[in-house]
Symmetry: C2
Subunit: 303 residues, 2 copies
């Protein structure tokens, strides 16, 4: 199997009630790739950075089996930078600064060797850029997952709706599902959204778990109760990475298998939020992943 991941590779500066970081490596594609790397060694990355991005960070990705030949390095330009501050409840945040830099004119070029990737993860990015990647594929991937956020709904709703027509799975959070569907009830929202194109919808609710919908079925996975959450940044991306990684590994796109993939996504997100940035994803082991999966299954088990 081969998996193509598109999304941002970025610098983040993060402040939460529990601490703050200087510029650390972040970005949707970074979290997705690091999370996916536990399930697969055939991951293709398409993204862009400036020449301020440290080479050893790229090498770290390569060591995890991530092919970075689709990572454009723009000479004389700077990497996308985001800084944000989380509020006390960790459920909301303020953006302090966004420097688009290389993202401003990002034209994603999918290398020929990537154009037959069997699975495609369109990480959070401008919808027209996501669409442009899709259009370059030689054949339709077996499963296309798109992650997005409220910012694109606020400013590029039409582009987003166009992109949605061509994807299999959409992952968004509950507020975004409400915004996209103009329905408050998530049951009603899911039906409306499933009419926009995606065959499957994942609604992420952070510490409150995640829903998986298709036209006739609904599955719910609780979040793993954690002792401490230090930094929610990248949780959704890590979730998406675990989800698509497990699907690509098992080559099974049935609803039943997607349920398992949602649990793996939940587990990957649980590691991410316990430390700042990708710190925890860097040191997590497969045994720890399986251990948490077991724990997660157990907390809603009933005899």
């Amino acid at each position: 199997m081969s998996l193509l991941v598109v999304g941002t590779v970025a610098f983040d500066a993060i402040e939460t009630p529990f601490g703050k970081t200087d510029k650390i490596v972040g970005g949707a594609a970074t979290y997705i790739c690091m999370s996916t790397s536990f399930f697969s060694r055939n991951i293709n990355l398409v993204s862009v950075v400036g020449d301020d991005f440290p080479e050893n960070e790229i090498k770290k990705l390569n060591k995890k089996g991530i092919n970075t030949s689709g990572l454009q390095i723009k000479k004389g330009e700077k990497t996308f930078f985001w800084s944000g501050k989380y509020h006390n409840n960790m459920n909301s945040r303020d953006t302090i600064e966004t420097q688009l830099n290389v993202l401003e004119k990002f034209d994603p070029i999918v290398p020929n060797e990537f154009k037959n990737s069997e699975y495609l993860m369109l990480g959070n990015l401008m919808p027209s850029v996501q669409k442009r990647v899709l259009d370059q594929m030689n054949k339709r991937p077996k499963l296309i997952v798109l992650d997005t956020m409220n910012f694109w709904m606020d400013h590029f709703m039409e582009d987003l709706k166009k992109a949605l027509k061509n994807v299999d799975v959409l992952t968004i959070n509950d507020e975004e599902a409400r915004q996209l569907s103009e329905e408050y009830s998530l049951m009603k929202a899911s039906r409306k959204i499933l009419e926009m194109g995606p065959k499957y919808l994942i609604i992420k609710k952070g510490e409150h778990g995640a829903f998986l919908f298709d036209k006739n079925k609904v599955f719910f996975a609780p979040a793993l109760p954690l002792e401490e959450v230090l930094d929610p940044t990248g949780a959704g991306d890590s979730f998406a990475g675990g989800f698509i990684g497990y699907i690509a590994k098992t080559k099974d796109i049935s609803f039943e298998n997607m349920k398992r993939a949602v649990l793996y996504g939940t587990v990957m997100a649980s590691f991410t939020v316990e430390k700042f940035g990708t710190e925890n994803l860097s040191v997590t082991t497969e045994d720890e992943i399986e251990g948490r999966l077991k724990r997660l299954k157990k907390i809603s088990q009933i005899s």
Copy 2:
């Protein structure tokens, strides 16, 4: 088996984004009793109303098997009245008016015939009143469940902590668990609260489900995804009623059985919130309850 329920019987006037009611019958004990009545025909109520409370409302309770000989009717006094308005997200509300009326000097008198009740549900009330009921029992009930809210934590924390020393199960929502424990993480909060007296803790998260904790175990039940929520009033009380009702019916206070009881509580709350007041609880059938239980079990099932 016999179950003693203590709590308010009240008039409510409710406004939500979906409608508004005149004075309707509400109160914690009303919701608890109506919910419990699906599981048992041996329910004893201790509460107080004024002589403005309609006799036919009392008869409705009697028809459901609720013994109202412990319901004091105060001549020349008025029933407790609460009016509130829910915000758009239905998760928060403003109290518009509270008239304590008969509650102000409520001295709960447990009739002799109730003093050997095997199960005790202390519905949301002033903690010292809850404690006074407990003290009148001839022998310790097999299971004592106490429900409370932030208001009592704000103003009567010491009384509440005294009452907690004597109960088996505490039911509160997530914000209240944080307030009571002074911990943000619900895992940490649960440990602290379980040291205050209760052997079991239920943290209700509304549309986000409910946790059941004991010292070593954790169980999570999702809420039932609903097409529409009209009025959240009484959801927590209906949950408590379903929980204690199922326990009392099955006479099994093991953690495994409490998990099932949490599911029944979740189902009973799901009926309540779909209509205003107790409207839906009045017409629900046992078949509908079992149907929803099945659906609820299914949404987190994984093969």
